[in-house]
Amino acid sequence: MYSKDNSSKYFKYLPAFVFLIFIFGMAVWFLFNPKSEYSSAEKRYLSEFPKVSAESVLNGKFGTEFESYFADQFPSRSFWVGLNAYYNLDIGNNGANGVYNCKNGYLINKPVSTDNQIKKNTQAIIDFKNSVDTPVTAMFVPSTGYIAQDVLPSVHNEYNDDEYFESSSKAFAENGIDFVDLRQTFKDAYKSGSQLYYKTDHHWTTLGAYTAYNELCRQLDITPAPKDKFKVETYGGFYGTTYSTSGFWFTQPDNIEIWNNPENTDKNINVKITEGKNTEEYGSMYFYNHLKEDDKYPVFIDGNHALTEITNSNADGGTILLVKDSFSHSLVPFLAENYSKIILVDMRYYKSRVARIVKEENPERILFLYGIDNLATDTDLVWIN
């Protein structure tokens, strides 16, 4: 009896004990936790221990930088981010971090803000078209949430793709730009069970790209390469962008497919990547080293670069110029079956004049290819003029 009372006497201090263990434990763990330089999930360099000088301490810079260092290097950061993500999900706030946790393991970006850049960018394309003689085609990729309506959580914001597509397509029609409207094609394909988008990434799948390629060819009146021309290679363990931004770590990874035409070798394929003054050449459109990473999408033409030139000496067609975002990366291997030369310009990194490429290369067509979500936030396309 006596001993029992005694134990409860100490137990009443347990909250304080737990608190102290926790704050001291984390502090010690922080000290001994190896610091990392780079966060691959966030795709950024983490803050390092700030420089100490009389000046930096006195003007408060040290204090501010130390705080971001402390937050960036906090032990088991991804555990905490995940806990926060699932906590918010469980208290009914699906999408708190900008990504909806959807049925069938889909992680889908929330709709873009209604106050966006789409009108401005559409006008930029029109202005550019009016400054060149080359025929111009535009193709926008619908957002995942617009196509995969059935998997969205019951409480979700509306995807306004219809409004954006219609206003752009009307403006394009008035200005002689061919517009490839993928909405119906994608809705039908999705309904028939095709997986057009990745579940953990904002991009379309290779099948999605192929579906769009077919629609594009139909509109350009060229013959698409048939499906059986390609050997499908499948790789697992792909964790894309919506996975890493959402913190929903229990989501299953995607498979990523490479539809490889066995006839293509380094004899007929040349990929020239230019970044600044630096140009490197490769013999394949697939960069298998990226399959080692969590985010495997850069397997297609090595991801984002300012200027990429793909030549295929087996193809019959001429030159096509793509002004594009990353959606095009998984589509160009198909397009390379038709065009002997594809020039890809990424306005986010390319800082020279696009008009000069048109003049020098004299492409038979210019294609603007953007995901509608990217187009909504892109502020670089306007520099094309």
Partner: protein
């Protein structure tokens, strides 16, 4: 540095606690004094000098007032000098921008605008040091014999940057005679956990909801607009009272006992009642150092009305250097006058739920005045509250309300004393440590997760 930051929780606090308890008792105040300056100077070290200067001249002021205790004239002179310097510094650092802006409205004036950043917590510590000198003058508090002890009091990190406004007389004895105990420490931990939970788990989320709703003011509809301002009503309460709880809890951990700053303000039955429950240390300060010296209610109704308007105009101005804050203060001044002279008789006869409804309505409208610093936005907001022409509830606002519904309900329940009553009922029992410990673990884990997730974590009350 704010309490709800990783650096505070996992670096500053463990180091401070460890060192504090290792230092022998005689050295604890000087240790606290130094560590307080580090806490304060973390973001802007230069402003430490301003605070030390403030501590210094108020200490001297108190000393002189005490020295000439028998010489009424000199005593008064030193009191006035000290207070003028206090208010002068506060005015320069807080209101210069507002004053020049106002003067520049005159067509013939064009004063260049000075960019003076507001030193954190200056409104709080200025009021604390003034309370000291005035109390010494009135013989309500003993003069401080030690500069270190006085400095420790002014700069005490738990209440330094966002209150409560601790009067010197309430802690004078504790400064020299406190005895830290495990009981008090445990109580402090629990209170700190309550505060951290209020701030990180409720206030921050309500803040996200508020700004998400008011990001699209014209699409919200009537219900959406109300939801936005109700979310803000919760945000400001949980933010501020959470901070006060953390302050009191940290005080307990260091052996101090501060007075309660909030007492469930949203269950008030009148505005008079509300201001007895909201930011108690501030209303007490204004009552004791402004309202009563002005004559309070002892000089007739007319004078009382004027006094109330002065006090509430100043209360508003204390909250921020903008006209909407004065408007907010006067709004409460008018409501209080109205209640005192007219409404009180009627209100008391009404059923209690109507009293609550009336109070909440007035308070929520008050937060509208507080939130919208831009006068034209404020006007639009009031139209949106009652104009069904913009629809009943916008789609985005509706989705946000649904997403945050569980938290809104938690916030509503946590605004009432239900939880505290339940706790009081079981707190004497033998196994109370089980729910207490579980509560600590949950708050620690989820708050840490939330803080790691959002490194951006500004405190609302820094503006004051």
């Amino acid at each position: 540095m704010v309490f709800s930051s990783l650096v505070f929780l996992f670096a500053y606090l463990p180091i401070t606690l460890l060192a504090y308890y290792l230092v022998p008792r005689q050295g604890r105040n000087i240790f606290l004094f130094i560590i307080n300056l580090i806490f304060y100077g973390w973001g802007e070290p230069k402003l430490v000098l301003l605070m030390v200067f403030n501590i210094f001249f108020n200490y001297i002021g108190g000393y002189l007032v005490d020295k000439y205790r028998s010489d009424e004239k000199k005593k008064k002179l030193f009191l006035i000098l000290t207070c003028v310097l206090d208010i002068g510094i506060l005015a320069v650092f807080k209101y210069t921008g507002m004053i020049t802006e106002t003067l520049n409205m005159l067509p013939f004036l064009n004063i260049p605008e000075l960019q003076i950043s507001l030193p954190i917590g200056i409104s709080f510590y200025t009021f604390q040091t003034m309370s000291y000198v005035i109390d010494v003058y009135r013989d309500d508090a003993p003069v401080s014999k030690s500069f270190i002890n006085f400095g420790t009091y002014v700069a005490l990190f738990p209440q330094l940057i966002a209150g409560p406004i601790v009067r010197y007389r309430d802690v004078a004895y504790q400064l020299t005679h406190r005895r830290e105990t495990i009981e008090q420490f445990t109580k402090g931990v629990l209170l700190f956990m309550v505060g951290l939970g209020k701030k990180v788990l409720i206030a921050n989320q309500m803040g996200t909801l508020t700004s998400a709703i008011f990001a699209t003011t014209d699409e919200n509809g009537v219900v959406g607009t109300w939801a936005g301002i109700i979310a803000y009503t919760f945000q400001i309460y949980f933010d501020f009272s959470g901070y006060s709880d953390m302050a009191c809890g940290l005080g307990n951990m260091l052996g101090f006992e501060f007075l309660k700053n909030f007492n469930y303000p949203y269950i008030a039955r009148s505005i008079t009642d509300f201001w007895r429950r909201w930011h108690i240390s501030l209303s007490t300060w204004f009552k004791e150092y402004v309202y009563i010296p002005l004559g309070g209610n002892r000089k007739g109704a007319k004078r009382q009305i004027i006094n109330l308007l002065v006090v509430w105009g100043l209360t508003g101005l204390w909250h921020g250097a903008a006209y909407n804050f004065i408007l907010w203060g006067l709004y409460y001044g008018l409501l209080l006058i109205l209640e005192k002279f007219v409404l009180k008789r009627f209100l008391e006869k009404l059923p209690s739920f109507i009293q609550h409804l009336y109070t909440l309505f007035a308070v929520i409208i008050g937060w509208g005045l507080f939130y919208f610093t831009d006068m034209s936005q404020l006007g639009e907001f009031f139209v949106d509250l009652f104009n069904f022409g913009n629809g009943i509830c916008g789609e985005q606002a509706f989705n946000l309300i649904l997403n945050y519904l569980p938290l809104l309900i938690v916030a509503a329940v946590a605004s009432t004393p239900i939880g505290a009553k339940l706790y009081a009922r079981i707190s004497g029992t033998k196994f109370i440590w089980i729910p207490e410990t579980l509560f600590c673990i949950v708050v620690l884990l989820i708050s840490t997760a939330s803080l790691v997730d959002q490194s951006y974590n500004p405190f609302l009350y820094f503006r004051f």
